[in-house]
Symmetry: C2
Subunit: 219 residues, 2 copies
């Protein structure tokens, strides 16, 4: 567990938990670590929603696959980030999404009950964890607002531009790279991949942007 301390220190769940107490906390929470290979399913839609996930290394995506096989990417998850926390906290029965590994990754799983309901040792840090969870959930809600703001646009072009603007703002520069390949970006924007490629080509010819793979430059 020790080797993950550097990552865990940066996880929003453990904000303001002193490093020298972190191991004790993890013990009290009965945290466990599981490794997954690329493309493996970390959580499957329909699974019991008991666990909060923390990505320790590697990356994954939160996806929904509908009826016809259309994939919708809700978000990407990188090291220090949490996932499935809303389903665990809201105590809904099952997760309505799947979490799929992008690459080999290590994941920490914590049974949410251990956080929400004070343990018999009365460890005293539960209040801080609950506060941190609240902050995290508020942040996630805002990310969803952004995704909805982007995907509520009616054309591929407008969705793409809205997404790129957000990314530029986040990067603090007109040059930035995105965490998605073309198919993934299409699944995040909820549009057709080939139409997306065509639109990027058109924007390039119009001199609105330059792009090479995952790198973009808004002119």
């Amino acid at each position: 567990m020790k080797k993950y301390l550097e990552i865990l220190k940066k996880c929003p769940l453990f904000d303001r938990i002193e490093e020298d107490r972190l191991l004790t906390v993890l013990d009290c929470l009965a945290a466990k670590v599981i490794s997954f290979d690329k493309k493996y399913t970390i959580m499957a839609e329909g699974n019991a929603a008991k666990y909060i996930g923390i990505m320790l290394s590697g990356s994954a995506q939160i996806v929904q696959i509908d009826y016809y096989g259309n994939r919708s990417i809700l978000s990407g998850i990188g090291p220090t980030e949490m996932f499935a926390e809303a389903f665990a906290c809201a105590e809904v029965g099952a997760v309505p999404v799947s979490v799929i590994a992008n690459e080999p990754c290590d994941v920490m799983l914590i049974n949410c009950d251990r956080i929400l309901h004070t343990c018999r040792n009365n460890c005293g840090f539960h209040q801080q964890l609950i506060f941190n969870l609240m902050k995290d959930l508020a942040t996630k809600t805002i990310l969803f607002h952004q995704k909805i703001e982007i995907t509520s646009k009616r054309t591929t072009r407008d969705k793409l531009m809205a997404y790129l603007m957000f990314q530029a703002k986040k990067a603090g520069s007109h040059r930035f790279s995105i965490p998605f390949d073309r198919q993934e970006l299409a699944d995040y924007l909820e549009v057709d991949r080939s139409g997306l490629s065509a639109e990027i080509g058109k924007l390039r010819r119009e001199g609105v942007l330059e792009s090479h793979k995952k790198n973009f430059d808004l002119l």
Copy 2:
């Protein structure tokens, strides 16, 4: 303030706060009540995100208006429900949405700082309020998941059917009524109103559903 106690008891923020302490709590939080007429703006996009809102009577909608004037409805708000809590809790500068009154309504506003940061009187209920906020934010996150699941469908028909299925499930019956008129439903589903009307007509002729205004019956 007293006349709102019955409503406030049912607000998730005050879950497990005893009724006879509620007035004290409201006082400590410096809660205030403001009334709005139909169509009035309760919060405007860009306003400081300091306050958590609680709808006491009447109803409102959370909307985003883009560049071209397209309205996107994020959700509807009825009595006992909270709004803007994510922006206040995440301590982002400004609210990225507007809240518009559907009808005359009374709204309680609470400065979020008063909840998050324990007051000097050390009232002791802040922990419960933070826990309640966490629960509420988790629930809101799930509602956004549902909206994304619905709007990520590619056709008006699929969006509409996904929405109606959720409503039927929520109502626990194949007969139910929805909280939106046609234009509002279109703005929630992020589709064209006339196309939506056409699709409802088609589904009716196909015998998939019956509908009269806001009332639906899935056959």
